[in-house]
Amino acid sequence: MRTNAGKLSWVAAAALVAAFLGYMIVEVILPAGAGRAAPTAGALTLPDVVFYALAAVTLAGAGGVALSRNILYSALGLLFCLLGAGGLYVFLSADFVAVTQLLVYIGGVLVLVLFAVMLTSRITEINVSNTSFGRFGGILMFVAVAPVLLAVALLTPWAAASAPGALAPTTATIGNALLTRWLLPFELASVVLLATLVGAVVIARKEIKAD
């Protein structure tokens, strides 16, 4: 009985993903691709090779995060994934964003590893395992995230520069944008961070009664 239910859930999940993919292809990808010229393949240059290497590092890291059973290996996979993504930002002439990526996420990975070490009770044994998120949880995440990523990938007018030239300083532009046009989101984000900080203190702090 249990195996039948398992099989049925697999079939239902596969049908759901297939239907979703079909819908996305027909309704989003084909219309978006219709209006633009087919990309032409140029000669493979060294920057292209670097780009593919960075993309491979990113994908391998992402795979490591998703597939590893060991929480520390997952954290390290995340490190490589984010390092690769930082490198890709440099290809988009976004040096400030790239370094921010490194600073925030290497620090983030550090904290993650720290928490993994501190909060996992069996961390002293080498074979610590990640618990899986579950099949339906995974599909739900996929369906929720895929449209956003697709929309970004298809609707962004990507700069077609083949090689990163001299990078123009972007720091001042970003600073001006954050403090003028995007001030409200910026401030809201800081309020969210403040709430997180307060929450962390409340959760972590143990009340010690005097008596």
Binding site: L46, L72, V99, V111, M118
Partner: protein, 461 residues
């Protein structure tokens, strides 16, 4: 005392002239050769200069395909990277020797004195010994991560040198986001330390790694905030840009033109000591508590790599401090227009320009070594602090004061924009105050020495 020890002690007082000459030649020659290679290669590795330089020796690049040119440039960059990392390793070894000599002197010991004059070749002997040692991996360790962590540490350390200046045009890559980049890649070292601590599967190593991560995450905040002060004063994140916005004389340095920048330097210096796991913040590897902390289980060359990075970091932190606060490579009487005039309009710069580069490198290296010496001095003066003291120092004192200097610098910059004379007045007054402090310090030191009937004596090194 048998005949042999008598013989040794008799000889130890006086070094043979040949040994002395060999030590001096090697001790000064090796860094000089490496610095000269950096001096030549770092401007020449820039694409435009590379093309011009190769044309000067008769190789015409215009016939080459773009990919061939990329490969050539990549090869030049790899050679430059190898030279800079070798320089880092050599300066790290020399720092070990200098630290051991200074510590021996401060603790009334003899210290290194067997290999070469003043025991100078000890660091090479140690490195060779470590190369030949067995590379042990604990049976229950996570073998992959245990092997990988020294590479993380070394990568994080070596990447810093990309944006670390050596002189006016002597930098591997003058990134627009230089100081920000340096702060970011340094974190890779901590990832390596944390992995080393965990993968060793030893409680000493794990405690060391955890302490190190907690310490570095905490101290990165005051370090970053105080590094923002010179950035605010220069209006750029680029290391060369920050140096260019300062002058050559002390009263034109960031540390002295703004009273809050001097406080910021103090905060930056303390935070860098903590991030580099230096005494008084060496809790992650407290020998008396944790054997050796995160590297307890390491042996052989992996151990050597950890130590290389630890001592090489002294150069890095001193060089960053000099660039941010003490005028970097600025040469007196040689402003940007002098450099531009010496450069000339030709594709390749003239001999005067190279001379100016040598001068700027000398200024930078001298300042960096002076700051490095202070770091060594601090280590052998102060005892280790406790974990709770370390945390409260960071969060209760350094972070609030860093915020104060940050905001005060903003206001100061507004004042300087209204009345530029403020920075000149501050520069003059603070340099004068520093001279007075230095005078009193020297007088007190002399009195302390003479009070116990001793005398200032440098002959017994």
């Amino acid at each position: 005392m048998n005949a042999k020890t008598q013989d040794l002690s008799a000889r130890s007082g006086k070094t043979a002239r040949g040994v002395l000459l060999a030590t001096l030649a090697f001790g000064f020659g090796l860094p000089t050769v490496l610095l000269a290679a950096v001096l030549v290669l770092s401007p020449v590795s820039k694409p435009a200069m590379l093309v011009a330089a190769l044309r000067a020796v008769g190789v015409d690049l215009s016939a080459w395909s773009p990919n061939a040119r990329y490969v050539l440039w990549a090869v030049v960059m790899v050679v430059l990277a190898l030279i800079i990392v070798t320089f880092a390793a050599v300066i790290s070894g020399m720092t070990v020797w200098w630290e051991m000599r200074v510590s021996a002197r401060m603790q009334s010991r003899i210290g290194y004195n067997r290999v070469g004059a003043g025991g100078y070749f000890q660091w090479i002997a140690d490195a060779v010994k470590l190369l030949f040692k067995e590379d042990l991996i604990p049976a229950d360790a996570d073998k992959l991560l245990f092997r990988a962590s020294p590479y993380f540490v070394l990568t994080g350390f070596a990447l810093v040198f990309v944006a670390l200046p050596f002189g006016e045009s002597l930098i591997a890559a003058d990134l627009n986001v230089g100081i920000f980049y340096i702060t970011a890649v340094t974190a890779l070292v901590v990832v390596g330390i944390l992995i080393a601590g965990w993968s060793s599967n030893s409680k000493w190593a794990l405690f060391g790694g955890m302490r190190s991560a907690a310490q570095v995450i905490s101290y990165e905040i005051p370090a970053g905030l105080s590094a923002m002060v010179p950035v605010l004063m220069s209006g750029t994140l680029s290391m060369q840009g920050i140096t260019r916005s300062q002058g050559a004389w002390p009263w034109e340095w960031h540390a002295f033109t703004n009273p809050f920048a001097l406080v910021a330097f103090g905060i930056f210096f303390v935070s860098q000591l903590a991030e580099g796991n230096r005494t008084p913040f060496d809790l992650p590897e407290a020998e008396s508590e944790l054997v050796a902390g995160y590297l307890s289980e390491y042996s052989g060359f992996r151990f050597a790599l950890f130590f290389l990075v630890e001592f090489g970091n002294l150069w890095v932190m001193s060089a960053i401090a000099v660039t941010l606060f003490f005028g970097g490579w600025q040469v007196p009487f040689a402003g940007p227009e002098v450099f531009a005039a010496a450069r000339g309009a030709g594709e390749l710069p003239g001999a005067t320009w190279w001379g100016l580069q040598v001068a700027s490198m000398l200024v930078f290296v001298t300042k960096t070594l002076l700051v490095l010496n202070v770091v060594v001095w601090v280590r052998w003066t102060l005892p280790r602090i406790r974990v709770d003291q370390m945390m409260s120092l960071c969060w209760k004192y350094l972070v609030p004061f860093a915020f104060v200097t940050f905001v005060a610098t903003l206001l100061w910059e507004i004042l300087v924009a209204r009345a530029p004379v403020a920075s000149h007045v501050a520069g003059g007054a603070m340099v004068a105050a520093m001279v007075v402090v230095a005078f009193f310090f020297a007088r007190q030191t002399r009195q302390n020495i003479s009070a116990v009937g001793d005398r200032v004596d440098f002959t017994n090194w």
